[in-house]
Amino acid sequence: MNAEPRLEARVRLSLDRFDLHVEFETTHRVTGVFGVSGSGKTTLLETIAGLRRGAQGLIRLGETVWLDSAQRRRLPPEARDVGYVPQDSLLFPHKDVLGNLRAGRQRALDGGHDFTHTWEAVVRVLAIEPLLGRAVGTLSGGERQRVALGRALCSGPRLLLLDEPLASLDVGLRRKVLPFLHRVRAEFAIPMLLVSHNPVEVQALCDDLIVLREGKIIARGEPRAVLTRPEVFPIAEHEGFENMLPGRLLETHATTSLVRLGENDNGPPLVVPRSSLAPGSRLLLSVPANEIMLALEQPAGLSARNIVPARVEDVKAVGPWRLLTARVADDAPPLVAEVTADAIEELRIAPGTALFLIVKASAITLYEDHPDGER
């Protein structure tokens, strides 16, 4: 997607332990900023929002200059038209959900936005209707993040800044809120900068990924390719690498469902845990790279439900492990499997090798896009 206004940031800012020094341009819908905590991700976001004094350099969105320290030009945060969603939501405790959602209404109106139209879209996409009259203190973590996201969207932003929107949630809630972010991405034509240290999130949402370490960009590119690079992979180690795959639900049985992989319904079918969605629904699923087994010949008498023929594209060394990228269909995203160096050697696996990927249904996580909220 190259229709977004160009965001250009060349900033320098002294921090306690290191200097933030970042230069990038992007025209993607969602650009991810990935790195361990303390790598300068949040600071970068706050600098772009105008909340960090002392930042030097140039920040520009389209034709609008937000910061140009050479020209002594610095727009205050209220003039930058950003929608900021911090990690801890920061919902205003003296307002209810409705009041929070309307907090940026004046700016939206001043900017010539159709507030009612945006409002209706936000309430629908984020399933906020049942929350409107609630006090902020009574919301669950996932509800808080949805309201914070809605508040930002309602303020008529030209750029959304999302700071680890799912990090404060437990794993179960993350699975339920991630689809909402996915819907925002699909339904609002607003470019986003998404800070995250979660490989699932960045793969599910980002078109482009910037990896920060100690305030510097150490890698940049398409998320799957970047995350499997030897210098980046260890950053995600405690989470491991997860394959994020789009698919469409074909049918549902007593304990499992069948999903067709690929954006265009031409990937192989996969048996997954039982989904509560109606057949035909689109969903996202994740497969941990270290849960995939390899076999050169089609195995028989196996308990694993999925034996998928694939062709190896690439094998990368990452520490003691090998990351093998294999394609299962022409226009479905490839899968990454994490195996030992010995396995690659013994099976004589190299780019071009035809093999079978073996995935247990129970190793697969579904990210279901529920239209009626977190159920």
Binding site: A49, L51, R80, Y84, S89, L90, F92, G137, S155
Partner: protein
Amino acid sequence: MTETTLDALRSTLLWASLATALVMVPGTLLAYALARFDFFGKKVISTLTSLPLVLPPTAVGYLLLRLFSTQGPLGRETLGFNLDVLLTWKAVVVACAVMSAPLVVRTARVSFEAVDPRFEDMARTLGHGPAATFFRYTLPLAARGLLAAMILGFSRAMGEFGATIIIAGNIPGRTQTLASAIFSAQQAGQEDEANFLLWVALAAGFAAIFLTEYLSQSRIRRAPR
């Protein structure tokens, strides 16, 4: 109760209210500046504001007397006209305002410090300028603490004696307050008057402190993490 005693009570309520009104606006702004910004002379200003808390009230009264006397910085000869403060109700209000300022500023400062500044950042990114952010976000978020500051300041003003007696005197029907009326009644041996006023003072004081205890109960002023 005699008419002058009731009159002193009514006047005290009025004067304490005026003194609180006089202190609240500049006191709140100063408290916000002290809570949020670093500036040259901050510690000196903070110390000066709190000084009436530790000085003998009569010393403050004497200082004010010098200030408003004919040759003083706010006297007739310096200004060229007469503010006519000394020994009038205005002197009571000035004395009460000065003596309650430290309580107001200190309490208000704590309540501003308890508001997470990131809420203000958030409001700015939603399009609100610094002034709108202060009035629509900071003030409401600090409201309970500010109300407590007001109640404490008012109560302090209600009970002011030392500074008042120096610059306003104790003229029944003109500058006599609750505090000076108790003093007069006790000196004159009018036990009934003194007892009545004691109960009034007790009730007012108890209600004020009880309310501030209630207000300072921890409420969510920060974002839960």
